[in-house]
């Protein structure tokens, strides 16, 4: 249970980090919080020859709450974003999801951007990036590029980042006025990997649902957004057909079985969690009219 030997690099700038990544190529891995990477190294599921430790890179530790979005740097720890009042006011979904990310001690160290770059199907924050239609900012030797969730996530634990690219920030766009959100997941112990999780964003205008969408944790390979506006649009939150929405969710998700739950159980769970978070988000949207959450 000890990592294999590696060469430690401690760049001080993004340019330096990208240079090192380009030099070491496929044998390199970026270390930020390390809360997913270090268990993998300890168990020797991976043994990269070079770790590019970005913890001393200047300028990556900021949360910026802007007019259109919340921008989160690559060294912002989950706990910092969770407790950031400005980010909560702009996008309550961030805190709603972050309190479900592992345990406080893990959130004190792990980073939100790292969790997204890790692209675990059981990760909460990739699902949030998808639901907000966010952007990953990647720096590489050819400059920076902005990547949508649909392009970023290629498969479980697989992204489109090149070997010499570093995810320097993500942006979570704010929702339109009249939108509220909710998040729920079910795990065997709070903080463990969820058997299923659902994030919902529902927009209510003049008492009527105009938009409803969900994204998922642990029941899809890559974070996907399911648009339920066709099922729920035009209804009032009090008498929307949540059961019909849950049925569509059960048809959408593709859970796998493991020792903790069968695929059928997870499918049922995803439907039930979706029913709850959709109703909760719709109710919040109806009662906080005009606000952005």
């Amino acid at each position: 249970m000890k990592p294999a030997p590696f060469v430690h690099h401690a760049p001080r700038s993004v340019e330096e980090a990208v240079d090192v990544l380009a030099q070491v190529g496929h044998d390199g891995k970026v270390l930020a919080g390390g809360q997913s990477l270090i268990p993998i190294l300890n168990m020797r599921l991976a043994s990269p020859g070079h770790l590019v430790d970005i913890n001393r890179v200047a300028g990556l530790d900021r949360v910026e709450v802007r007019d259109g979005d919340v921008r989160v740097g690559a060294l912002v720890r989950h706990a910092e974003l969770e407790h950031h009042e400005g980010a909560y006011a702009a996008l309550p979904l961030l805190r709603q999801a972050l309190v479900n990310v592992a345990h406080p001690a893990i959130r004190n160290r792990g980073t939100t951007v790292g969790s997204i770059a890790h692209a675990d199907a059981a990760g909460e924050m990739p699902a949030i990036l998808a639901l907000t239609e966010g952007v990953v900012e990647a720096a590489g030797p050819r400059g920076t590029r902005e990547i949508s969730p649909a392009d970023f996530f290629l498969g479980a634990l697989e992204t489109c980042l090149a070997e010499d690219e570093l995810a320097v920030a993500v942006r979570f766009p704010r929702f339109s006025p009249g939108t509220a959100t909710a998040f729920a997941e079910s795990a065997r112990r709070h903080g463990d990997y969820a058997m299923a999780g659902v994030a919902a964003a529902v927009t209510v205008v003049d008492g009527v649902i105009t938009d409803a969408r969900t994204s998922f944790v642990s029941v899809t390979d890559v974070p996907s957004v399911l648009d339920l506006t066709e099922v729920l649009g035009g209804s009032e939150p009090a008498d929307a057909d949540w059961a019909a929405a849950a049925e569509v969710v059960r048809g959408h998700v593709e859970p796998e079985a493991d020792i903790h739950a069968t695929a059928d159980y997870r499918r049922m769970l995803a439907g039930e969690l979706a029913r709850r978070v959709l109703a909760q988000a719709a109710q919040n949207a109806a009662t906080t009219k005009g606000s952005s959450h």
Partner: protein, 202 residues
């Protein structure tokens, strides 16, 4: 794989319990092993070594983190408090044996919050930091606060009681101190002369 005999060694300095400590270690040295093997601070226990059990939890710049999920080199120049450092807190008091205990240690002793004691260092550090954040938790909050730490002996009931009792003791001692808060607000008296930056709060 890199040849073991030529493995790169790095001089790592970490402020541990108010004292700057340096050792020459390979880059892959986990903070938990740095504390136990290189500094002989064996109070920090290593259970699962992949972040699940919480036994190795230490405070890094006052915040609980898993020492098995950090490399010593990444802790360079940071402030680490282990279970050995908890008795240095301003609100620690001498107990019957003459040793000092902070309110959480005192409460675990009073409430039988441990049996074999293997998981205890992780609980003590976790709860000490938690009470700074929430000085008067409810029973449900206390249970949630320890959800990231596993104990195979107690069944948790007495640990929850210990958290609530620790909050009481802490509040009592705060009154005695004239309001000075924080286990890490000042370095221990016996470390003061050698402490470079032990009093800093991150």
């Amino acid at each position: 794989m890199t040849d073991m005999t030529t493995e790169q060694l790095l001089d790592v300095t970490v402020n541990v319990n108010g004292v700057p400590r340096t050792a020459s270690v390979p880059a892959r040295r986990l903070l938990s092993d740095f504390l136990r093997h290189d500094l002989q601070l064996t109070g920090t226990h290593v259970g699962c070594e992949h972040g699940v059990c919480g036994a190795c939890t230490v405070l890094v710049d006052g915040k609980p983190m898993r020492s098995c999920l950090m490399f010593a080199v990444t802790a360079q120049d940071h402030r680490v408090t282990t279970v050995e450092g908890l008795c240095d807190a301003p609100d620690a008091r001498p107990c019957a044996t003459g040793e000092r205990m902070n309110p959480v240690q005192q409460a675990f002793a009073e409430c039988h919050g441990l049996q074999c004691g293997f998981c205890t260092p992780g609980f003590l550090t976790t709860v000490t930091a938690y009470l700074e954040e929430n000085p008067a938790p409810t029973q449900d909050e206390a249970r949630e606060a320890i959800s990231g730490n596993l104990c195979r002996c107690t069944g948790y009931q007495n640990i929850v009681k210990s958290v609530l009792r620790a909050a009481e003791i802490r509040t009592e001692r705060l009154g005695e101190d004239g309001g000075e808060a924080g286990y890490a607000a000042a370095p221990a008296a016996r470390h003061t002369s050698s402490s470079a930056n032990g009093g800093e709060r991150a």
